[in-house]
Subunit: 444 residues, 2 copies
């Protein structure tokens, strides 16, 4: 059978990874796919660099639309990123009857509904394993491996940059700013790290997983997004003393009222496997009603791990793409005509409706009655306390200090109730600094 | 679309799990699969018990062949187990044009080639996600998620009974026999635990993974199989002191000379995620040349975790089974006509050709020159020593003891060379007991 003809849009880090892995493993991939997979066209603004990568093996053009217009191309791989030109090109490729493979989590989290709709109407596949957790086949696991389950929640370390930073902060006892600079120097963080450290990248991925897990449309605009920039070394240390690690988790959870969709730093029991995922690695923990907890771990970024996912999608297309469109796996796991139904049933909840437990660090004056006052306010708000850790003032502020840290762990609480309680506690004269509030996930 | 009609052969623990999960999650499964999945017939020798499970929802018969002969049945789910009648029924179901789902690892590890061949000729699917690691979608990950990779090795904790026993031995410092009895009392081990504790069950699963990972035929008869019955609490303790845990691993590895396929207790660095998989849980670590290491963790047994995998296969069949057979995923990942090719290229290696590192525990007389003699023999055999731990005689044998344990960790060694060296060391008059030899896997 003739090799499947692939056109790459963009040949940066991931694109050259795709090219190299396909070249290196072509025999084995052909034996799996049943036909060869050939990159025959590459579009990149930097045509000279593109040529230096692909040599004589593919035609290099400057205009992506030349690839899309070529009737010999079966699949367009979009590796440009972002919401702008990438969106237009993906929609044009679909309109031209091409299957599309993309690693573009931002695009799918924001415009996925429109894109999948267009693909369904045109009868083409849009595949995106590389969009979430790099080389870990988590999309396939959620969409195909766990189809028997009512999925209850998904919690993932799905941003390698922030996990590297948090691991370093813990290992070396350093503050965020210091470690960020080191991460940038080592190439684990970009020059403009905003999307990573503010949690936006993780929220894109969590949004995609929420749709697949629960059969709801992608709704990035409803996601709660909080990054790691305000974490202090002290919080990581206190968490450790209490038996927890702090991880940036992307969480999506089904409740009776709707779906939680949130990214924020989280205390996780140190004994959980996911708490021990270190450095730039990713891991996703999925709770299903039949299977229980399953975990998927691996590299979430990098040229070849991401290429591994892109090529797996190409093999899927080579194997299944020729079948009539009713005999394929739906992109978001659920048959597309049923997504609307569920969107009505399961709204994404506002953060005030989320129920979780909390770690609070409150810098207080070291005087009698402070603890009683604060715990009284929590009790009045119906917030139940799990543990309190009060540090010696000397230990916190140095000898003769009149300030101390009060660490409170709560039981499950509605976020809105916590907001209300903290609004009362923060202005107390004995509370000397902005309160640190970190959510705590037991993941059991 | 009409629901897909399923006939169950055998409704024991897993069968009733399949029935219950399908009933509980039927709406969600239908939304994913695009059509309902209905168990309309059940064959079981204990018809009364079968009726008590399925009620009026399915026809219960005593003869499995009635299910196979029924033209309304689309898929036969074989949950009988073993090589005997199960093999005949699976082949008859295939011959009758039914798709088959099975959890029967023994059957596939031994007779898989014949069964997949028959299925290919008849144009039906044989699916078996439940055969390896229960609810963890590891077959799908290897067969579809990692298709870009030249897979280098797979190492898995794929038998929950033995992992439970090893976890208990370590936690409580108890010997094998004591913990086995406890495991039997708790239901983690069967009354006849031979297949689990001798490594046979793990070897069935490793055999299936070797075929999928490397594109070779299933060759259970070539697997090296060693169980955990000879492990002593002392070895677990010494391993711990050296920074290792002991796990029963199913390993399959590609080398220049061929494929290693082996099950045995293994020292694993304690810091590896897989070393921290406790109790009856399963985990499989896969090393691919593009993706690096990925790990898959979850419950490897039990009614509903296994049902999760069986139903995922049914959903795959509902989604893809109607396509013409050229547009499906090949059962062993590689297109079947290419399996023979590879079988010639990559023989399964005899154990003497396996290269790994070792932990040796040698009970010796506590006298001068013993260590020199033993390390001299190892050096002459070209075996390089990584570390030596010599215990105080008093500590090992009680006060005044004249015996001690010599613990030696080696670098990578050919198993045949180690056999030859141990054949010289064992008869030494200063070696007072059978030498314990446990393989060590760094898994990096």
């Amino acid at each position: 059978m003739k090799p499947i003809q692939v056109g790459l849009l963009g040949i940066g880090t991931v694109g050259s990874g795709v090219f190299n892995v396909l070249a290196r493993n072509q025999d084995e991939i052909r034996r799996r796919a049943g036909r060869g997979i050939q990159i025959s066209m590459v579009a990149d603004l930097d045509a000279a660099r593109a040529r230096s990568i692909v040599g004589e093996n593919a035609r290099v053009v400057g205009d992506a639309r030349e690839v899309i217009a070529n009737p010999d191309i079966d699949v367009v791989v979009e590796l440009i990123g972002g919401y702008g030109i990438a969106k237009a090109l993906v929609l044009e490729a679909i309109a031209a009857g091409k299957h599309v493979v993309t690693a573009n989590k931002a695009l799918l989290a924001v415009h996925g509904t429109e894109i999948f709709q267009a693909a369904a109407e045109r009868g083409v596949i849009v595949a995106f394993e590389a969009a979430v957790a790099g080389g870990i086949p988590i999309i396939k696991a959620l969409r195909e491996g766990l189809t028997a389950n009512q999925i209850q929640w998904v919690a993932g370390i799905i941003n390698g940059t922030t996990n590297f930073i948090l691991s370093e902060m813990r290992d070396k006892g350093l503050d965020f700013d210091v470690v960020l600079k080191e991460a940038q120097r080592l190439g684990y963080a970009e020059a403009d790290p905003t999307f990573d450290i503010e949690g936006v990248d993780a929220a894109h991925k969590a949004t995609i997983m929420s749709a697949i897990a629960f059969g709801i449309p992608v709704q990035f605009d409803k996601a709660y997004v909080e990054g790691i920039t305000k974490l202090a070394a002290a919080d990581i240390r206190y968490a450790e003393q209490l038996g927890y690690r702090i991880k940036l988790l992307g969480i999506t959870k089904r409740t009776d009222k709707g779906v939680e969709l949130r990214v924020h730093p989280s205390l996780v029991p140190a004994k959980r496997l996911i708490a021990n995922v270190e450095g730039a690695m990713n891991a996703v923990l999925v709770q299903g009603d039949a299977v229980g907890a399953t975990l998927y771990y691996g590299k979430g970024a990098g040229a070849e791990p991401t290429a591994s996912a892109v090529i797996a999608d190409l093999v899927d297309i080579a194997r299944l793409g020729g079948a009539d469109p009713t005999h394929r796996v739906p992109p978001l796991a659920f048959q597309s005509h049923t997504l609307g139904e569920a969107g009505r049933d399961l709204p994404v909840l506002p953060m005030a409706e989320v129920v979780t437990s909390y770690y609070l660090r409150i810098r207080v004056a070291d005087e009698a009655g402070v603890l009683a006052k604060i715990t009284g306010i929590l009790a009045d708000a119906g917030i139940s306390i799990d543990a309190v850790l009060q540090r010696e003032a000397d230990e916190v502020g140095g000898e003769g200090s009149t300030q101390t840290d009060l660490i409170i762990l709560t039981h499950d609480t509605r976020e809105g109730d916590m907001d209300a309680a903290l609004a009362q506690i923060q202005p107390l004269p004995t509370v000397l600094a902005p309160i640190t509030r970190i959510r705590k996930e037991e993941l059991n």
